[in-house]
Structure formats: structure tokens, C-alpha cells
Symmetry: C2
Subunit: 503 residues, 2 copies
């Protein structure tokens, strides 16, 4: 009986994945290649597949198979593939099944309309016109959280979707510690008398050369172009269309080198994780990413811990000089390294540096908690946003366009998503610390252009584990202690204090 249920359950999940990966291609195509006039029908195709996928996920037959399998003694090997599959599909099934169809559909519709209205509101710098829609999105999200249920704060029910097993009590403790260190640290760097040679990065970097150079380095760190591709979009992303089909995008600015280059490293980091999952487990939890926080840890690892390190540029800078001879011929390695590590408070999250980035996230995390937990009316959001920017970053947005209206997330009802960005940085710092110790100093590797050591370490410890361990369990098993903000703070201080010549 159990064997049959097990096989049927896996077959069912793998078939659902055929639809999910097909939806992935529809979405990739929509954002990269689709003719402009095809948008309306594409929305129909996507929502038809989404409905089909939701019906499959909440099919009572799945619940029955899970009942039968849950009765089996799986706890002996709770991190094994079978136990992981049953545990995670059980969690997902009960989560989805609690949501009435009416709410799923209303949220989907409100999110589509929300994004359209947000584009308008941002363009017109007009929060007031967007407020009623945001109000409704908050209400529906609260309703969703209540339908799912929670132990601590209502916000936790939403967070759980992106970061299974995480809760806001733990996050708030982590983030408070991080903020207490970061706010004075950023001020400390700002007081430095050393001047970042920014101008280097604004020279001419021909787009075609940026593309071929970006591909060369993406391949060097491990992105497999036989199982992926790189395209151009305004808003870079990483999308999957199957176990051997992971596609990344970037955008180019001829007069600003870091945008495309670090964007490619970031998305390639996501893709290397996807390409490192076990292909034969595709569609089942052991073949899926552990959480968004763990996903972000991989992109941040390659973008910042590798790509913004001095040892990386010891190897890469001569290559860059050969390609961008006109602009880099007379530049010293240390000046270039300093330029790509320009730390200063700024208003826009997606342009923020490695150190201040987390303060942008903490602002959003605190505000969205207040909204969902009904501790602040939507009308007060812009003023609260500006006050927190003043408090944490020492600057204040001149308007809502560069303030509360800058991100798409809330307009798409993605409450609970923002903290995974900072979790990614915290996990990255912890994992990098462990890999550096296990591999006897990664800077030695990077200097000679060897990225396979780190990549294989990540593959063994993280990628091939899929969802067999939760994010928190990965930190515990890999480093021997729970996640905290110490590794990240240690990394930032060790890196930036010498660079900015501060105590």
C-alpha cells in the first residue's frame, strides 16, 4: 500500500513540475522575447496553468496518499529523500488546501492590478492614488494569513511561504543585532577621509564587450551555458524552465561597469544553485531549493563574497584590462577594487552596496510587519518610511518615488519576502566563513582563478541537499551553531575598515 502511494505521489508531483516549468518558460518568454501585442493572451495562458497547478496541489487524492505515508515510520531518517518528500509535500498540501479558491483568485487578480497601478503611481509620484489598492492587498494578505493560521505573529504565516520554519520573533532578534552594529559602522565609514575613485567605473565599457566578458566570468565561476542562457531585460532575474534549463538576465549601461557585471554574478549565483540541485529529484522537495534566504545566500556569495573580494580581482582585473583596454589600461588594481566597494547611504535598495543594503531591508521588514499585524494604518506608511530612512541611513527621500513607491513587492502582495534578502546575506557570510576554513583560505583559490573548490563545497553542502534540511538546519549542520549576525558583521568590518582606513 505504502509503496503504491509513494510512487503515485512522486509521479503526481513530477507531473505538476512539468506544468510549473512550462509556466516558468511562459514567464521567461514574456519578460524577454514576447511580442508586445501578445501580453493579454499570455496572461490567460499563465493564469490557466496557475489554476491547473493549484488544483493539482490541492487534489484530495494527494492528501490521501500523504495520510497513508505519514503513518509509516519515517522519523528514523528524517533528512532522507522519502521523509523529506512526504514532510514537505504534506506541509505544502495543508498550506494550499487551507486557502479558499475565492481568496486565491482574488489575491491573484488584486496582485496583477496592484502591479499595474503601482507602475502608474511610481511614474506620477502619487502614493495617494495607490493607497486604496495597497489597503486591499494588506487586508487580503491578512485574511490569507488567518486562513493558514500561526502560532506567534500573523506575519509569520506569510513569511513561512518564502522561508519555511522561520518566524518573526527570531528574525527581529537577528535584525536588531545587525542594525545595532550596522548603523554606527556605516557612519564610521562615511567619516573616512579616503576618497573612492568612482570615476573609473563611469568610463566607456562597450556593451558587446561587457556581454562577452560577463559570460566568460559567469562560466569561470560555474554557470553552465549548456544548461542555461543569458539575455537582456530591464529588471534582471533568474528563471527556470526545467532541471537543465536555467536562464538569467541582466541590463547594460555603457558608462557604468558594475551594473551588468555584478548583476550577472548575482543571477549566476542563483543559477549555479539551481544547476547544482539533483536533476533526478526535479519536481520533488529533495530536488528543490531550501528557501528564498538560502537562494539569496548563493547569489550574494558570488556577487559580494567572491566578486567584490580583492583576491577575485587579482585574477580578474588583468583579464578586464585586456578587454577594456581603453578604460582600464592605466588603472591600478587597488583603485579598481576600492571603486567596486563604494559604501555610502543611498535611497534606492537595488543600487545599495554590500554594507548599507541590509538597512534598506530592515526598514521594509519592520514596516510590513506593522501593516500585516495591524499596528499601523496604510496611510501612515510614507511618513514612517521616511522616518526610518533618516534614523537608519541618515538620509531622507525627497519624494515617494525614491521612497515608499520604489519596490514592486507590496503591490504584488509579496509580504514576508523582503527579509529573505538579508537572511541571504547572513547565510552567505556564515557559509563563506565555513568554506574558507574547510578549504584552507579561499583567497588563495580566487587569486589563481580557481572557483571550483568553493562551488563544489556549496554543491555538496547545500545544493544537493535540496529541502532535506531547512535553512536553519543547514546553518546548524554546516557551521555547528545557529544563524546569527556575527559572521556578516565580522566580514564587513574586516573588509571595509582597512579599505576606508578607519579604526
Amino acid at each position: 500500500m505504502g509503496d503504491k502511494s509513494w510512487e503515485d505521489l512522486c509521479q503526481h508531483a513530477r507531473e505538476t513540475a512539468l506544468l510549473e516549468s512550462t509556466a516558468g518558460l511562459l514567464e521567461w518568454d514574456e519578460r524577454t522575447k514576447m511580442p508586445h501585442g501578445a501580453g493579454a493572451y499570455r496572461a490567460e495562458q499563465v493564469s490557466y496553468l496557475a489554476g491547473m497547478i493549484h488544483r493539482r496541489r490541492t487534489d484530495p487524492q494527494v492528501g490521501q496518499w500523504l495520510e497513508e505515508l505519514n503513518a509509516e515510520p519515517l522519523e528514523a531518517d528524517r533528512h532522507g529523500d522519502m521523509a523529506t518528500t512526504v514532510r514537505e509535500l504534506h506541509r505544502q498540501y495543508h498550506r494550499h488546501a487551507k486557502l479558499p479558491n475565492r481568496l486565491v483568485e482574488e489575491l491573484a487578480r488584486a496582485a496583477v492590478l496592484g502591479q499595474q497601478e503601482w507602475v502608474e503611481a511610481r511614474r506620477n509620484n502619487d502614493f495617494a492614488s495607490f493607497r486604496p489598492r495597497l489597503q486591499r492587498l494588506v487586508e487580503l494578505s491578512r485574511e490569507k494569513a488567518d486562513a493558514i493560521g500561526y502560532k506567534g505573529a500573523r506575519y509569520d504565516a506569510l513569511l513561512e511561504e518564502y522561508e519555511p520554519g522561520e518566524n518573526s520573533a527570531n528574525l527581529s532578534r537577528l535584525f536588531a543585532g545587525l542594525r545595532a552594529e550596522l548603523v554606527p559602522f556605516v557612519s564610521e565609514l562615511a567619516a573616512s577621509t579616503r576618497k573612492v575613485p568612482r570615476e573609473i567605473l563611469n568610463r566607456r565599457y562597450p556593451v558587446a564587450l561587457q556581454e562577452s566578458f560577463g559570460k566568460q566570468i559567469a562560466e569561470a565561476i560555474g554557470f553552465d551555458f549548456q544548461r542555461g542562457r543569458l539575455d537582456v531585460t530591464d529588471h534582471p532575474f533568474c528563471a527556470g524552465a526545467g532541471p537543465s534549463d536555467c536562464r538569467i538576465t541582466t541590463r547594460y549601461n555603457e558608462n557604468f561597469f558594475p551594473m551588468a557585471f555584478f548583476g550577472i554574478l548575482h543571477e549566476a549565483g542563483h543559477a549555479i544553485y539551481e544547476q547544482g540541485l539533483r536533476t533526478e529529484m526535479y519536481g520533488l522537495p529533495p530536488g528543490a531549493a531550501a528557501s528564498l534566504g538560502i537562494h539569496e545566500s548563493q547569489s550574494r556569495m558570488w556577487e559580494n563574497f567572491v566578486g567584490r573580494s580583492r583576491s577575485f580581482w587579482e585574477y580578474t582585473f588583468p583579464l578586464a584590462q585586456a578587454v577594456f583596454a581603453e578604460s582600464l589600461r592605466d588603472v591600478a588594481l587597488d583603485d579598481f577594487y576600492f571603486a567596486v566597494n563604494d559604501v555610502r547611504p543611498s535611497l534606492i535598495r537595488v543600487e545599495a552596496d554590500e554594507a548599507t543594503y541590509n538597512l534598506h531591508i530592515i526598514v521594509r521588514y519592520e514596516l510590513e510587519q506593522a501593516l500585516i499585524n495591524d499596528e499601523m494604518p496604510v496611510a501612515e506608511l510614507p511618513a514612517a518610511w521616511n522616518a526610518k530612512y533618516r534614523e537608519y541611513l541618515g538620509i531622507s527621500p525627497p519624494d515617494d518615488r525614491s521612497g515608499v513607491l520604489q519596490d514592486v513587492h507590496w503591490s504584488a502582495a509579496l509580504f514576508g519576502y523582503f527579509p529573505t534578502y538579508t537572511l541571504g546575506n547572513l547565510y552567505a557570510a556564515r557559509f563563506f566563513e565555513c568554506a574558507d576554513r574547510d578549504l584552507n583560505g579561499l583567497s588563495g583559490h580566487f587569486k589563481r582563478g580557481d572557483f571550483a573548490g568553493l562551488r563544489d563545497w556549496l554543491r555538496t553542502k547545500i545544493h544537493t541537499q535540496g529541502q532535506c534540511y531547512s535553512a536553519a538546519e543547514l546553518a546548524q549542520t554546516i557551521s555547528g551553531r545557529p544563524l546569527d549576525s556575527e559572521s556578516l558583521i565580522t566580514h564587513l568590518k574586516a573588509k571595509f575598515r582597512p579599505l576606508y582606513a578607519v579604526a
Copy 2:
């Protein structure tokens, strides 16, 4: 009751179209953008969707709705949208429902394997290794034909899939007349003392310029890039991913101008038909192409009847001279026009000219009939092929690679497909004759770069009719008489006799 069945039937067909168009995107992507390593999983995605689509098409509920609607008096307006929908869905339902799942699956699998083995066999010029697979494909196709049933020849049951309402008795009569005229006509041109200035077309035509020029002319004849796109592939095609998403491809040879240019006109002709179907009827028979023959009539119309006409080049040649100045500066219009109308017997169908092309098709049509009707063993195919080339074209392939192994169709079990190419030429000639008369001479339009007259005529008479009329009915209603080979023969003689200075 009828109203409800009607609405449910249409809703069901439109939902199936959401899946079909999604499958269309999967296939387009596979042939243009997909990373090499993603092929195996893509095959699973495509076949999963294909299975889902087949189950929907043969859903007994569809049969029941059709029963109820067939009882209604639809014959009063048999070319109306409702009657057309019921009639065509009824035809498709009963055709599909007669095929056992086992046969559908075995044919699909044999076709995939057949194409793989064909690639190998063609590369190695080795018909013998391919023969057993071809034998099996013929047997399965016979079994399919027998399951579907037929009145005249078994072959007709297969032909019907691509050309509804057509039969081989009629085709053989048409093609015999055409062959009797074409064989001596081609010899007549071959005896001409006029020398085609072929060298003009082998000069340097930079690929980037070919692409922008091709797009410019595709747009001029009516391809809407807001609802479509142009990409590069080895084997050009036209694929749809929705009612406003029609994508064409071509291939470029820097030293042979016609390949990409006429390829683009051909595929754009297919696409203009798709873009001219009624968007609001997408997914229902009144919003679908009438037949493959009618589809091909549209591509051949723009490629040959327009694109290889002297009046077209009176307008287009100065534009081409401005773009390809280096190669065309000193070329006279008449020499260029002669060069793109180079008629001579050749071995490869896809490279054949407007006049000899149909002889290539007639060879295949006669041979595939003999195979399906069990009048010739597969082992005799190569010798029969070569004999027919000698008889109809006066040349004989040196090997099977440039003979019987050159086309993919039979390896994919597409028996009954080839004649639609020549039907396309016959329909194109007839429609062009009518449009020329209705519009008081099209050459006057083309000379001033006006293609809207012909395009709108086609849109009204053909595109917007969808499947409300069969192919044969379209010829009858538009021209007032049934299809024959006269219009095509008249066109070829009127065009090529003066050009080659033969009687």
C-alpha cells in the same frame, strides 16, 4: 440546452487552445533559444501537454455536446460561425476518437525515433539502416488510416488530416495534368540560349544588412512585428504561441542573397495569414486556418507571385541597391530579376525554383501513395525515387542523401503532407489571378510599393473566413470554378517564356 452545450463546447475548445498555444511556445523555444542540455526534459514537457490535449479532444463530454448541437438545424447557415464550429469540431472529435491511445503513443514514439535515425542515415548516406524504421512507420500509418476509415484509397484517410475534404482521386487528376505540362515546359526553358546572371546573387550581402532589409520588406508586405518576431534557425519555420504571437525564422548566407530574403517572404506569408485570422475566434474553427494547402498558398503568394515578380523589384530593387551598394551598384534591374528567377532541374526540393518545384512534390506524392496503399515495398523506394527523377526532371541523384533521404517528413510519419505544397502553388495561382482582376492589375500596386490592396483582399476573402469554407470551397466561391492546374500553368508560361526567350 443547446445554448448551454454551445457555450460549454466553445469554452472547452478555447481552453484546449491555451494548452496548444503553450505547446507552440515550447516548440518555438526548443528550435530557437533552448539550451542544448534541456532537450530531454523539453520532450517530456511537450509530450505531457500533447497527451493532455489529446485527452481533452477525445473527452466523451465533447462528443455529448456535439450530439446535442448536431440535432439543431444548422444547415441553414452552414458557413456561419456556429455551424462551422460544430461541423469541424465534430469531424476532429470523431477522427481523434477512432484512434486507440496505444496507436497514438506508438506513432508518436516511432516518429521521434524515426527523425533521430533519419538524421544519422542521411549523414551516413545509408538508406538500409533506416529501412526497418521506415517500414514500421508505414505499417503504423496504414493502421492509423484503417482505424480512421476511408471511402476511396487508404491514403485518403491520412491526406484528410492536412487537407480536409481532399482525396487522392482528385489530386491525381490535378497533378497528372500539371505534370503533363510541366515536364516539356521545363525542357523548353532548359534549351534557352539566354544565360542567367547567377553570379550577382553570390556577391557579398552582410548578414546584419540582410536581416534589417528582410524585416523592412516583411513589414512592408504586412507582417506585424507588434504581434510577431523574426529569429534565426537552420530549418526556417513559422510557429504560433497565441492569437497575437506568430514567430518566423530564417537562415542567412552572406554569399547567397535569395536564401534568407525569399525565406522571410515565405514565412511572412504564413504569418500574415495567421495574423489575419479573427482574433476573437482564436481556438475555434472559424478562427483557424482552412488547410495546409491554403496556408502554403499564402506563403507561396508572397514569396513567388509577389516577391519574384518584376513589378515587385521595380519598387524594391532601388531599396536593395541603397542597402547593398557594394554588390548591387552596377547591376541592372532586369539582370537582378532574371537572377532571382533561375529555373533549372535540381536534386534538392527546398532549393528548387518556382517551376520545377512541383515535379519534386509529384515524385513524393506518387511514391508515398504506393507505400501506404501497399503497392510498393519500402525496399524498392530508392530505385523508384531515382527513376522518377530521371523521368520528370531529367536528372538522377548520385546518392540517397541527395535523393530519397533528403526530407524529414516520412521519418516523422507525415504521409499525406507533401501534396499540400503543390496544392499551395495551385491555390496561390488561382487566388492571384482573381485578386489581379478584382484589383485592376496588381503590378501597378507593387511598382509603387503598395501591398495593402492584395493583403486586404486576402484578409477578406481567405484569412477572416477561417474554416468556414474548406479549401476547395474557397476556390469555388472566390473564382467561381473548382481548382485546376490551369492558372498555375498560365502564370508560369506567361512569366518564364519571355524571360528565357522561348516560344
